[in-house]
Symmetry: C2
């Protein structure tokens, strides 16, 4: 039995407080919360594969009919607040066009090691090293989810996958793709060792081409930033691979490189169904 949404007409209603000062809070953080925008992403937050709980939903009344079934199917339906787009815009501080917002709760972050199936099961883990651009992190999550990676592990420098723009660029993948942080004091090689994963480090300067690789059953794909790339110690100890490119313009976006590597390895591990 789904509760009816509550109509809120006052932008100062205290229940709307988590939706206020949205852009300012993008910068300073939200203390255990994050913002979800749009119908497709909200469905992922409410759905079976979601890793997070919704604290509340704020929608324009005309959007309720297409969402009622998703809220009803949710084991613990959150409160749903209805407000006109004008009130939503007044609350958030910028124009709300789509009329669908929600507050997600981060919960406790799982240990990176808990996300990876133990050997001898196949495993595919993506390591993001120093990715400080929200577009790239979001796009890498989208590709990780599309090719069925078990987990994404981020180092301490990489930015937040639950930042508003990261979630949007990920097409909501950040809400369903298991992820964790590289434990402080650990490095990629020790993580690979502890989890029995073969560390593969992508670098334009590597000599071994991706398509000549015999795909390991348990792989850690380490991806660095486009400029500096991975540090020398990681490259020296991992198996360095390059994506073959045309002469004269060997430049790929890091998330696109992740997509090509994930496709190749996921296919080699038999994750993508019969061809």
């Amino acid at each position: 039995m789904t509760p009816d949404p509550e109509d809120l007409g006052d932008p100062d209603d205290p229940r709307l407080e988590p939706y206020t000062r949205m852009r300012e809070r993008d910068l300073v953080g939200r203390a255990g919360r994050f913002i979800v925008e749009g119908e497709v992403t909200l469905r992922l937050l409410l759905g079976r594969r979601s890793r997070f709980r919704a604290e509340s939903i704020l929608i324009a009344p005309e959007r309720w009919p297409s969402l009622v079934a998703d809220v009803a199917a949710c084991p613990e339906p959150p409160p749903v607040y209805c407000a006109s787009k004008a009130v939503m815009s007044a609350v958030t501080g910028f124009p709300i066009h789509r009329g669908v917002l929600a507050i997600g709760l981060r919960g406790a972050e799982p240990a990176a090691t808990a996300l990876v199936p133990p050997p001898p099961a196949p495993a595919l883990v993506v390591g993001l090293a120093g990715l400080t651009n929200h577009d790239n992190v979001g796009a890498a999550f989208r590709n990780a989810a599309a090719f069925g990676a078990d987990a994404v592990i981020l180092d301490g420098e990489s930015c937040d996958p639950l930042y508003r723009k990261s979630i949007r660029v990920s097409a909501g993948a950040a809400l369903i793709q298991p992820f964790g942080r590289l434990p402080a004091g650990q490095d990629w090689l020790r993580l690979a060792d502890a989890l029995d994963l073969q560390p593969l480090a992508f670098s334009p300067g590597a000599t071994e081409p991706l398509d000549a690789l015999t795909v390991p059953a348990r792989a850690l794909l380490i991806l660095g930033t486009e400029g500096p790339g991975l540090d020398a110690a990681t490259l020296a100890q991992a198996r360095p691979l390059r994506i073959p490119m045309a002469a004269g313009f060997d430049s790929l976006n890091v998330a696109t490189a992740a997509g090509i590597a994930l496709f190749t390895i996921a296919r080699g591990q038999g994750r993508l169904g019969p061809s």
Copy 2:
């Protein structure tokens, strides 16, 4: 013999007129001109593979030493204007951090058919159908250049690869990757027929997986928008292909899909050197 740059201290100097009202002109167009930003992109504009001529360069004085050799190597060096970043910011109307700008000249757009090597040579052409997002067009160009596509052909709906943001996202590939427009009144199938290319249409609903494809020696990869995708007529007449993905989140960005398809086909055609 490279001419010395001319110091311009007056934001109202008429030679700076093409640099004024930059954001407004992003929207209304520039009558045969486009903007290049940053050192890496300027090098591509001045370089051997550039498809365009520079009309002028505007740089902060401290950037000249690292660019002088590139200007000197240019067969017809454009005038170089020097101005402080403060003057550059006053001219353009927003803060200029990198201190490197140039005006490029579009010249005449080549006929799409003139860009494709005649049979029986191998050919790889990317068709962009209805791509109205500058990020996606820029990213698709970057991937086309990285995997050595002969040409990118855009339909009338797709946006301008020489828009400021497209060039930036393309990492400058828009300046060196040959491209043209689908002639008015022609469709993808007739273009493929005229150029003796096998039309491959990517669609999540297709049954044939990319990795089971015997790569054709002459291919036209047609990519549509993520939402509506390609029209039914194109899908019905082209060879529809899908990129295999994990169950439950079959969602790839169109430029990432292009990257995976280009990598697979370019490798199959032997464009990427020995593996």
